[in-house]
């Protein structure tokens, strides 16, 4: 029972970051290796505002705003010149950006771990003297993640903006002919995605894990695996993939051996790719090579 809760609460973070990766992948076909680092920087900036005495919720809002701005600027400055270039070029540039942001954060805020005071208690509830392995913080984490996911889904499903976003991802030329400003949609995709990533980073920094310049590295890797298991194309697949990875890691940790736990994600990815190379939740056909 403990494992299920722990796995789910960790997995839902992976789902959030995986969702943000999928949004970018859908709109621009770039895997954003700096996604975690961008969210990390945004959280650091939010945290310095907490140090100045603003409340937790302001920190969340500031982090998300900074994250969104960073996402938009990144797309305009670093990614836009690379459309139509070999697919390796944006990978290299984003890996370079990842290295830059981590070095920058270490230069400004040092590499020591910091914690944002969590808004809710992390102490597990008790019922009839038994631990339930749920704390109000875990519930907050899960509820916030679900709210974000639902609002992203609603945005894509029910608004005009969402329709334009989906159209420009699916058929850029046709959308442009029909009057959708596709290049603006790409930027909006990055802004949205960076915002979702920043929320995940704030949740992580509020928990036991803390905030340090490379704190999103492991999360990014796990979330990438989650998105890849889901197929990179499907938001639903990303969410499901995140939960699968979270649970899988927790069960490997608990029932197999903590020593192999770092390899858990890769093992899950390999198995998933063997079953369905195009991802578990995608409908598109794989590119035959």
């Amino acid at each position: 029972m403990h494992n299920i809760f722990a796995g789910l609460s960790q997995g839902i973070i992976y789902s959030l970051v995986a969702l943000s990766l999928v949004i970018i992948w859908q709109s621009t076909h770039v895997l954003n290796f700096a996604q975690g680092a961008m969210a990390m920087i945004a959280t650091y900036i939010g945290m310095t505002e907490i140090d100045r005495g603003v409340g937790y919720w302001w920190c969340v809002i500031i982090s998300v705003m900074v994250g969104m701005a960073l996402g938009g600027v990144t797309e305009r400055v670093l990614i836009r010149p690379l459309y139509g270039k070999p697919e390796i070029n944006p990978i290299v540039v984003m890996v370079g950006f990842l290295g830059f942001l981590e070095a920058l954060a270490a230069a400004i805020w040092t590499s020591t771990t910091r914690n944002i005071a969590e808004p809710f208690s992390q102490i597990y509830f008790k019922s009839n003297g038994h631990l339930v392995f749920l704390s109000s913080f875990v519930i907050f984490q899960i509820v916030l993640a679900i709210v974000i996911m639902l609002s992203v889904a609603a945005l894509f499903r029910f608004t005009k903006l969402g329709l334009q976003l989906r159209a420009s991802a699916l058929a850029p030329e046709v959308s442009r002919l029909l009057g959708v400003r596709v290049s603006r949609m790409l930027t909006i995709g990055w802004i949205l995605s960076a915002g979702v990533g920043a929320i995940a980073a704030v949740i992580i920094a509020s928990g036991n894990f803390g905030l340090f310049p490379t704190n999103m590295d492991g999360i990014f890797v796990a979330s990438f695996i989650a998105a890849a298991v889901g197929g990179l194309e499907s938001p639903l697949g990303a969410v499901a993939g995140g939960l699968i990875i979270g649970l899988g890691e927790q069960f490997i940790l608990a029932y197999w051996s903590p020593d192999v736990a770092p390899l858990g994600g890769i093992i899950i990815l390999v198995i998933a790719l063997m079953i369905r190379p195009q991802g578990l939740f995608t409908k598109t056909t794989i590119r035959r090579v």
Partner: protein
């Protein structure tokens, strides 16, 4: 196993052998005149150049990208380290060969499920691998020595080499130069192999795979096998380079091979020039003297080198250089030769005359 045969191909190997031999001997002569500190830096640069060359082959010739080469370096380093730790008297050549083989095998294990993956998927998968290596090395303490790492001394300076040195620091000077010379020779051998691989049938097939995989398949190239073998060669080079690197330091520890090292390797490859021998040499030289460069930048800008900013200066400079090179000069420093060539080319008039008749 076409590529294995191509390593010792007969027709054009001769000129390449002479060229590589000349460059290696030239570098060996240079090491005599370099101060000991520069010698040890050069040794590290030579080890890194081997890894960069392997990565350059993978990216420049087969069109794949790997963020896992720091992981393969770690695998090779630990293979060599564990062996050297228990069998201190093994000849160095054998230890390095072991690292090469183990690195290649680990590359094969990662490559087989990844051959279905392209571009970003492969990069992410290899990133996951290099992220897993450090905790694995920390966890399996009985073999890897855990956090503390392993220590060994396989690069002991031979007696006859010591005779060339005198003075109070003879032993230290001799050891610095011995390690530099050794690393340069190993790098020379590996560059020679790679030069042959570039110009072999396999190399040409690989370029076709990169540029047009459908055409390559129609020509009878087995795509999955081509991609896998490119990956294996790259991992083997990384394994050997990592082993050499840790032998030079006489120790191997988990944090020697962080993910950041993969980013550094990528930077060196892109800065030098993707897919070229000279690019890998330039990358190695940049790595060897990067600390001096960073110290120079720190003193120019007045940043305290032990402060936070100073300690992270190298990471920031390298990543900015990586981004700028990729955006504005994706072919790297090597591409500077094209304007130079144009400068010294025959006059347009005479060339036009040739084209007319």
């Amino acid at each position: 196993m076409d590529w294995l045969r191509s390593l010792t191909r007969q027709e054009t190997t001769h000129s390449r052998f002479v060229g590589m031999l000349f460059l290696t001997v030239l570098t060996l002569v240079i090491t005599i005149f370099l101060p000991p500190v520069a010698d040890s830096e050069l040794a590290g640069g030579a080890a890194i150049a081997i890894v960069v060359l392997g990565l350059s082959w993978l990216t420049g010739w087969s069109g794949q990208i790997s963020l896992g080469n720091s992981g393969f370096m770690a695998v090779g380093a630990y293979a060599a380290g564990i062996w050297a730790h228990h069998h201190a008297s093994t000849p160095l050549v054998f230890t390095l060969f072991l690292a090469l083989v183990v690195g290649g095998i680990s590359g094969l294990i990662i490559a087989v499920p990844s051959t279905r993956l392209r571009g970003p998927y492969l990069a992410g998968m290899t990133l996951a691998f290099s992220a897993a290596v450090t905790p694995i090395a920390q966890n399996f303490t009985s073999m890897t020595g855990g956090e503390g790492g392993l220590f060994f001394n396989s690069l002991a300076t031979p007696k006859w080499f010591l005779h060339f040195f005198s003075g109070p620091y003879a032993a230290i000077n001799a050891s610095a130069q011995w390690s530099a010379d050794l690393a340069v020779v190993v790098a020379g051998v590996m560059f020679f192999f790679m030069a042959n691989l570039f110009h072999s049938r396999t190399g040409r097939a690989m370029r076709l795979v990169r540029d047009n995989d459908v055409a390559a398949e129609l020509m009878g190239v087995n795509l999955a096998r081509a991609r896998t073998s490119a990956f294996v060669v790259s991992a083997a080079f990384a394994g050997l380079g990592g082993a050499l690197y840790s032998l030079l330091q006489a120790s191997v520890r988990p944090e020697t091979f962080p993910i950041g090292l993969s980013i550094t390797l990528l930077t060196l490859m892109v800065l030098g020039g993707i897919g070229t021998l000279s690019g890998a040499v330039i990358g190695g030289i940049i790595y060897a003297f990067s600390e001096n460069l960073v110290a120079h930048v720190n003193s120019l800008t007045g940043v305290n080198p032990v402060s936070n900013v100073g300690a992270n200066m190298q990471g920031m400079i390298f990543s900015v250089l990586l981004i700028l090179t990729m955006l504005f000069a994706p072919r790297g420093i090597v591409s500077l030769k094209y304007p130079l060539q144009r400068l010294f080319r025959a006059r347009p008039l005479s060339r036009g005359a040739k084209e007319v008749h």
